[in-house]
């Protein structure tokens, strides 16, 4: 039997070309490792009967009740109460950095695809917003397989472009969020922390639950360079010629300050903050999502 769990490894996943297949493999691999099913409400369990009103889908009529009592009742199922979830994926230039074959954007794609697949599987509606300094693409939340395919297509076509401006796009995004639901932000968050936090605040203000997946490359976290290096800045930053060893401590400190500030900001807003390095297995993100989903 094929060990699906290995598809949780981004490096393995990278070898598979189709994103839909990747997403399925991730989820299957993830679920194969769990002892009980995580699906909730996705079962076709009967919940209650209600009287038929014109417009109801005739497929849901309980013909057995009609045969016994000649009255039209419609069977009601739990899945109708499912969640509306938006994935906010950062496609700025900085996301294109990767010390290995899987860069941050690629990793984020897998993550987004896997989450979308998982959501659609359990009848949750999933929408997608691609952004950099502005919203690049918005797909409204739906919970159908064709919709999933659309999302996966958009994900695979997403290209890194400009600098991130999370605050700017948060205004745009909130207009789409009519219902209460879940917003999952997938980004390296390389922007000013005030702008990021204020953007997140606005989304929270709309009554949305938020999970932030902070995607970082392993090299960004460890800064393991030894040789003299010319660092060419992405997102319009200038280049820097330096001995990385002289800068490592200070760089790591600056980065840690930044990250901890974001984390504290998230904590204050009761936002789930999950820092993920691109060398980590994808199940970290899925577990974080499912834990959150359970609480909703």
């Amino acid at each position: 039997m094929e060990d699906y769990r290995r598809y949780l490894n981004p490096q393995v996943l990278n070898k598979i070309s189709r994103l839909d297949l990747k997403a399925r493999l991730v989820v299957e691999g993830y679920i194969a490792g769990l002892h009980r099913s995580p699906y909730r409400g996705v079962s076709q369990e009967f919940a209650a009967h209600r009287e038929y009103v014109p417009g109801d889908d005739l497929r849901h009529l309980d013909w057995k009740v009609f045969g016994r009592s000649d009255r039209l009742y419609v069977k009601q199922y739990e899945q109708e109460t499912n969640l509306i979830c938006y994935l906010l994926l950062d496609v700025s230039e900085s996301m294109s950095y990767g010390s290995t074959t899987v860069n941050k954007l690629e990793y984020s794609r897998y993550l987004a695809a896997a989450l979308s697949f998982l959501m659609v599987q359990q009848q949750d509606a999933v929408g997608l917003v691609l952004f950099d300094r502005q919203v690049r693409k918005t797909i409204p939340a739906r919970s159908s397989t064709p919709h999933l395919n659309l999302i996966l297509k958009e994900l695979s076509e997403a290209q890194p472009t400009l600098k991130t401006d999370f605050k700017a796009i948060s205004d745009d995004v909130t207009t789409h969020l009519a219902q209460k639901g879940l917003v999952i932000v997938i980004s390296d968050l390389f922007d000013e922390p005030e702008r990021i936090l204020s953007g997140l605040e606005r989304i929270r203000a709309k009554g949305q639950e938020v999970i932030v997946f902070n995607i970082l490359d392993e090299y960004e976290v460890r800064f393991p360079f030894e040789r003299m290096t010319r660092f060419e800045g992405m997102e319009e930053y200038p280049q820097l010629f330096a001995d990385p060893r002289t800068l490592r401590n200070e760089y790591l400190k600056t980065l840690e300050d930044f990250l901890s500030r974001i984390r504290r900001g998230c904590l204050a807003e009761r936002i789930d903050y999950v820092r993920i390095s691109t060398d980590q297995m994808l199940d970290v993100a899925l577990t974080a999502y499912l834990a959150k989903r359970e609480r909703l």
């Binding site: 230039e93 900085s94 996301m95 294109s96 950095y97 941050k104 390296d188 390389f190 490359d217 960004e220 360079f225 030894e226 040789r227 003299m228 290096t229 010319r230 660092f231 060419e232 800045g233 992405m234 997102e235 930053y237 200038p238 820097l240 010629f241 330096a242 001995d243 060893r245 002289t246 800068l247 490592r248 401590n249 200070e250 760089y251 400190k253 600056t254 980065l255 930044f258």
Partner: protein, 734 residues
């Protein structure tokens, strides 16, 4: 600074390696497109200055490590103990420079004295003014002298003083010098005192070694200069073979000349004999290695007065001891004044008739070759009536059976005695015992007269004869001759303390017959021995008075004629009188005129007039003090006196100042022997055995504190650890 292995200094070029590596590293860089640029820029901006400083510090450290290693391999050390300034205590150097005459030995083109000065200059160079070092500069010889003993050190002055230092004609006396140096060192307040003896380290320089056993706190370093097997030959002594020391004109005197070869090989050399500047004879002589050979040269002087003779040997590398001078006085006659206490017209009744014939068989022809005596006989009456006794022209005075000496005459005689006269007193029946005992009380008689002993019938002979006395040594080989003399009457006497009994009578009491007493300080009881290899006691002291102008007095307790004895009947009588008179007359010629440098010449007491001294090197100087002390130079000294009209000069005496013979023995002392003599820790360094500048600093080896490589190793290790720690800390551990 010097290096043990200077070839390794090429490694210093490796000091450029860290810089080159740094530059190469800058060339070989990678390019990374970087997302988290704002954090990197912030870090770079914040630390740019610090990073530059850290980079520079690390670079310097790495360069220092490489340079330090290169230096370590080259093993540097300091010529001067510079490090001592930080770590070592202030030092007081006491440098004793041997300037004895043996240092005048020519070793190649220069004397070894130049080598000694060279060593001294190098020693002075090791001193540090800033450390508060002090210097005592002194000479090493029989008469050590402190040249510089300064709290404030002036190196230039000290070296100038060394340059100016001249050789002396003195012998070496290391123990005496060391005692002085120890004394100076013990008074020093410096934390460390080092005594340097820079010398040729002769064995003979360690005389009187038993005198100095110092428990000194100062370090002692002996630096030997000159090659080890230096040969030398010298005239060791020259002296007349003459028992009494009295030499008369026309008398042939044999001068004994001893020459010593201190070398390891036999030599054939010429020995010349010079009298008053004219060569009289010469002889070729073969002297075995380490041997002394004696040659005799006969010479007779025709003129009375002061004379000198010199023996010369062929010149070698040490010239000063190749000749010696002996100065002496020659008399044409022994001027004898006889006071006749009992004159008589009868030839055999006269008191002094036998004396006269004994001394001068032909009184009518004085100064004939038969007798050296020139007699002047005065009767007792005349003696009393004469105002002034003719003592100035008298060598010996004989008083025979004189009743008493009037006080005026006594004063004249006493004065004359003090100038070196010799007085012979015979007793007899005329003698006033009380008057003579007054003389005894005044110290002018060797014995107190008690009573007349004996009778005309019985005779006694001389007994207990002191043949060691110079006046009687003549009889040593014919002892019975003296014992053949018969005596009937004599004064029994009680000899005073300090008197010497030459002969006694063979009576029961052994009454003294001939008694001698020095007047004033007297003179040596024996003729001065010629200077011997071992320095005689007479000469060892500084300022010894060698002019012993004081006289002697001999009392014969029987009569001069045949009245109390039958002596004149025997030929021995003539010999006895002659020997006694010669002995007494020799007082002025016995003056030791063979001196060692720096011994004092005492001028004859009571001589009126202005004295001049013609010296071998300093010209003629006028003398004021009764002593002449400037006899540092070897050579001939001439004592002269200006006559009353101050127009002419009269030669009084010659003095020969000769080098101490022992100093000519250049053989070194063996280290074992030295250890025994010094009886204290010391370091022996040979300047010829590759003595480097650095060896001088502590003697024989590079001073430990000047070895820098150990410190460099520490420095490199510390730098390495520091580099590691800093690189780690700066995040550049690679």
């Amino acid at each position: 600074m010097s290096f043990v292995s200077p070839a390794y200094l090429w490694l210093l070029l490796a000091g450029a390696l860290p810089v080159i590596i740094h530059l190469l590293n800058r060339q070989r860089y990678q390019t990374v497109r970087w997302a988290a640029m704002e954090f990197l820029l912030a870090a770079s901006h914040k630390n740019r200055r610090r990073i530059q400083m850290e980079n520079l510090l690390l670079l310097l450290l790495r360069v220092a490590i490489v340079l330090g290693l290169a230096f370590t391999f080259a093993r540097p050390y300091l010529k001067k103990p510079v490090l001592n300034a930080l770590t070592a205590p202030d030092t007081h150097l006491v440098i004793a420079i041997d300037n004895s005459y043996s240092m005048g030995y020519r070793d190649g083109s220069a004397t070894i004295f130049e080598q000694v000065k060279d060593v001294a200059r190098k020693l002075i160079d090791t001193l540090r003014v800033d450390r508060g070092d002090r210097l005592t500069l002194m000479t090493l010889s029989e008469y050590p002298e402190t040249l510089i003993n300064d709290v404030s050190l002036h190196i230039t002055q000290a070296k100038k003083r060394v340059d100016e230092l001249a050789l002396t004609d003195y012998a070496t006396n290391i123990m005496k010098t060391l005692a002085l140096a120890d004394d100076i060192a013990s008074k020093s307040t410096a934390s460390r005192t080092v005594i340097y003896l820079v010398t040729d380290n002769q064995k003979t320089g360690y005389k009187h070694a038993e005198a100095a056993t110092a428990t000194a706190k100062s370090e002692l370093k002996i630096i030997e200069v000159g090659s080890a097997g230096r040969a030398n030959h010298q005239v060791t002594r020259i002296y007349p073979l003459n028992q009494s020391g009295l030499i008369l004109t026309g008398q042939s005197v044999a001068f004994q000349v001893e020459s010593t070869n201190y070398g390891n090989k036999d030599i054939v050399t010429a020995v010349n004999f010079i009298a008053d500047g004219i060569k009289q004879g010469g002889s070729s002589v073969n002297i075995g290695a380490g041997r002394t050979v004696s040659l005799a040269f006969n010479h007779s002087f025709t003129e009375p007065g002061p004379h000198w003779v010199r023996a010369e040997i062929e010149k070698d590398n040490l010239v000063i001891d190749d000749s010696r001078i002996y100065a002496l006085d020659i008399k044409d006659s022994i001027k004898t004044l006889i006071i006749n206490g009992e004159p008589s017209a009868e030839p055999f009744e006269d008191e002094v008739v036998f004396l006269r014939y004994a001394l001068s068989p032909q009184p009518e022809t004085p100064n004939s070759n038969i007798s050296p005596y020139a007699l002047n006989i005065i009767n007792g009456q005349e003696f009393i009536s004469t105002e002034q006794l003719p003592l100035n022209n008298t060598d010996v005075m004989i008083i025979a059976n004189l009743e008493f000496i009037p006080p005026g005459k006594l004063r004249q005689i006493e004065e004359w005695l003090n100038k070196g006269g010799g007085l012979l007193i015979f007793l007899g029946d005329k003698v006033d015992r009380t008057a003579y005992n007054d003389l005894f009380a005044k110290g002018l008689l060797p014995a107190e007269l008690v009573e007349v002993a004996g009778n005309n019938t019985d005779t006694v002979r001389f007994d207990r004869i002191d043949f060691t006395h110079p006046a009687l040594t003549f009889f040593g080989s014919v002892k019975e001759k003296l014992r053949s003399l018969l005596i009937q009457k004599y004064y029994s006497v009680k000899s005073a303390e300090g008197s010497r009994v030459l002969m006694s009578y063979g009576d029961t009491a052994n009454s003294p017959a001939v008694i001698e007493k020095p007047v004033g300080k007297g003179r040596p009881s024996a003729a001065p021995k010629p200077p011997s290899y071992a320095v005689p006691k007479l000469r060892s002291g500084e300022g010894q008075e060698l002019w012993n102008g004081e006289g002697w007095l001999i009392l014969v307790t029987t009569s001069a004629d045949a009245e109390w004895n039958k002596m004149p009947a025997k030929p021995s009588y003539v010999m006895l009188i002659d020997q006694l008179c010669r002995y007494l007359a020799s007082s002025s010629s016995l003056v030791a005129r063979d001196l060692l440098p720096a011994q004092t010449i005492t001028l004859p007491a009571g001589e009126a007039g202005n004295f001049l001294m013609a010296t071998p090197k300093s010209g003629t100087v006028a003398l004021q003090a009764p002593n002449y002390k400037d006899t540092a130079d070897v050579g001939l000294y001439t004592l002269e006196r200006l006559t009353a009209d101050r127009m002419t000069k009269e030669k009084l005496s010659y003095f020969g100042v000769n080098p101490e013979p022992a100093e000519g023995d250049l053989r070194r002392i063996a280290p074992d022997e030295l250890r025994k003599i010094l009886n204290r820790p010391f370091e022996l360094v040979n300047a010829n055995a590759g003595l480097t500048d650095d060896a001088l600093a502590s003697g024989g080896q590079i001073p430990p504190l000047s070895h820098l490589w150990k410190y460099l190793i520490y420095l490199v290790l510390i730098s390495l650890v520091l580099e590691l720690v800093l690189a780690q800390r700066f995040g550049r551990f690679a």
